[in-house]
Subunit: 375 residues, 2 copies
């Protein structure tokens, strides 16, 4: 039985200045909290999300048994991040499409739907927006900030933008920036969306259409990069969808892997916002804390004072263990307190969301250590 | 100075039965030959091509200095495959779009352009069509059949379909079949093409349009898989296209890698046929000589009597060295004569087309050995 989660919404009338020089005002953030903030306000944990996730991190919505949060195996009563001890906060990032203000909402300056005019956001902007929400919740300092993939980048950025507000950062299956191949995959996905005739330059809302073709392609590409070669071969291999006979068709589904990818693409295109896809992949592309230091990550991370846990997965080829090790090395160059685990797991990048006993126990042990600090 | 190559065209009135059960009649194959067939007819080398290549393997066309064949560094007078010694044959595969009969031609049964109705072809069908052309050229037995990537699959298939007609097979950067990830990338590319509104179910010719959006996406995906992570980082890294300032745009080009991919996609969409793309990627998907043997590659290769050279490249993640080693192992299980080289090269799958001294010298040495057999 999962516990009941309840989304909340906070409106921010004051403009948030963005890294691009633009700003956004009159925005709303959707968020959820689990557990209770202790009297010392020292047990708060912020969970940052990746591309296709939200503030709904754990629990289920009342009356919706299947609505488990995206990290429900990690967070909850008695879970590795135990909500009996920690006050856990999930926030839907600005520009996303799950409750916070995004491209499908109305621009207060024009009265029109933002669409492609929604300001371009960065990881740093998200962290600033999250910090304002924490102010509202009365959380001055986080016991920990935790995230996987793009969420891990936010966790890392927290330690640089607000070093005094973070005691621990847990950065899972992440990277200090995207490499050329990562950017390349993002760009192909974006081109598929932008060149879909139903995209209408990002203003498809008023045409009553959705660029589903592009979203499907984007999602199919994404899924390939989330899985390892090994797990794809194990799950699908060269299995035909129907029996043993080839159809000799270029357009019909022949192999199981095709069926899987089309299904994932179709599903995604039903609910994900195309402009949000562009915004979030661009935030990924831009993230690069070393950039302001001529590419020197050690210098970039000198500001961080938190203690760190880095976790990577052996078969993750999107953000390989090597990328986590770069962060570890840069932190060690600064004599920071860093723990690092490379989990031997077959599932590729997806592993950070899956049940792997060694991984879940590792996170549990780390949070037990954190809990001792305020117990 | 490259030598002058001249394309030739041979019409086949007799129907070619295809693996699908369909057949194709009144088709033409474009081909080129370099060097001379010796009196014993023992020095012929067939070069098989991959997706985006043709019968124009080497040399240049008269008056077109920049029209070098796609393997001009490998084949020609004094080159590793020396046309002073060997009679080299390049054939454009059926269904391709560079001169042989393909989807853009007229179906003699209907008087209409084939379009999506062009029969689905397999590697085995191509080999059968190539064998007929060799009959016409008076080549009963090949000194060698040589190919990279999909071309390597054809070379391998030659040794199984016509074991008595092949003395040596040189299989470069290839695989005994596609794995799930390879099929997945093909499927995304196909979906991008098929769902482009300008595809018109494969009958775009009569609409006077070309599904360029889909072709661009397909080619961008292809390019990512042809390059290694390392070479992409070295060539492009996170370099911005314009100076040092970010534009904060989701649709404009920001990084060099984006510029490169868009350029490659645009160029490709100008000349490559969309139905051909579907056909060739499907032939790749289907190739699997072990299939008829319950997946047992050793049993499948028992028919081969040729001597083999297998070559792979360390950073090729499309057809990794592991895939070549599977072929080597299966041949050794049958006590065949096999040489195998794993070239430590940074360029990924593309390496098989590039100048790498160790690789070119290896092929040279192997063909010198072959030449001694008839010298």
């Amino acid at each position: 039985m999962s516990f009941i989660a309840t989304p909340e919404f906070l409106h921010f009338p004051q403009a948030l200045p963005l890294q691009s020089g633009a700003s956004i005002r009159d925005y709303t953030l959707a968020y959820e909290t689990y557990g209770s903030l202790n009297a010392e306000r020292s047990n708060a944990v912020l969970v940052c999300h990746a591309l296709n996730a939200s503030h709904h991190v754990a629990g289920v919505y009342a009356g919706q048994d299947k609505s488990e949060g995206w990290w429900n195996n990690m967070i909850g009563p008695g879970k590795p991040v135990d909500t009996n001890r920690f006050f856990v906060i999930g926030i839907n990032n600005l520009g996303s499409c799950f409750g916070s203000t995004g491209p499908m909402h109305t621009n207060p300056d024009t009265g029109q739907v933002y669409g492609a005019d929604f300001p371009v956001l960065t990881v740093e902007d998200w962290v600033n927006a999250q910090a304002r929400l924490l102010d509202h919740l009365g959380v001055q300092q986080l016991a920990a900030v935790l995230g996987g993939s793009l969420g891990g980048m936010q966790a890392l950025s927290w330690t640089l933008q607000y070093p005094e507000r973070v005691r621990h950062a847990v950065v899972v299956a992440s990277a200090p920036n995207l490499n050329a191949e990562n950017i390349a995959f993002n760009e192909v996905a974006r081109r598929a969306i932008v060149t879909d005739p139903d995209f209408h330059g990002g203003h498809f809302y008023q045409h009553g259409v959705v660029p589903k073709r592009g979203l499907r392609i984007a999602r199919m590409i994404g899924h390939i990069t989330y899985l390892s070669d090994d797990v794809m071969n194990e799950k699908f291999g060269r299995q035909l969808r129907e029996g043993l006979t080839l159809k000799y068709s270029t357009q019909d589904i022949e192999f199981q892997i095709e069926s899987y990818l089309r299904y994932q693409g179709d599903k995604f295109s039903e609910y994900f916002d195309a402009n949000t896809y562009l915004l979030i992949t661009r935030a990924l592309d831009y993230f690069d804390p070393a950039r302001a230091f001529g590419g020197n990550l050690s210098q970039a991370l000198a500001r961080a004072t938190a203690q760190f846990l880095l976790v990577s997965f052996s078969t993750d080829w999107r953000f390989s263990p090597q990328r986590s090790r770069e962060i570890v090395k840069a932190l060690l160059d600064n004599r920071r307190d860093v723990s690092y685990a490379e989990i031997d797991a077959p599932h590729g990048h997806d592993a950070f969301l899956l049940d792997d006993a060694r991984y879940l126990n590792l996170i549990r042990a780390y949070f037990e250590r954190i809990a001792k600090e305020f117990a």
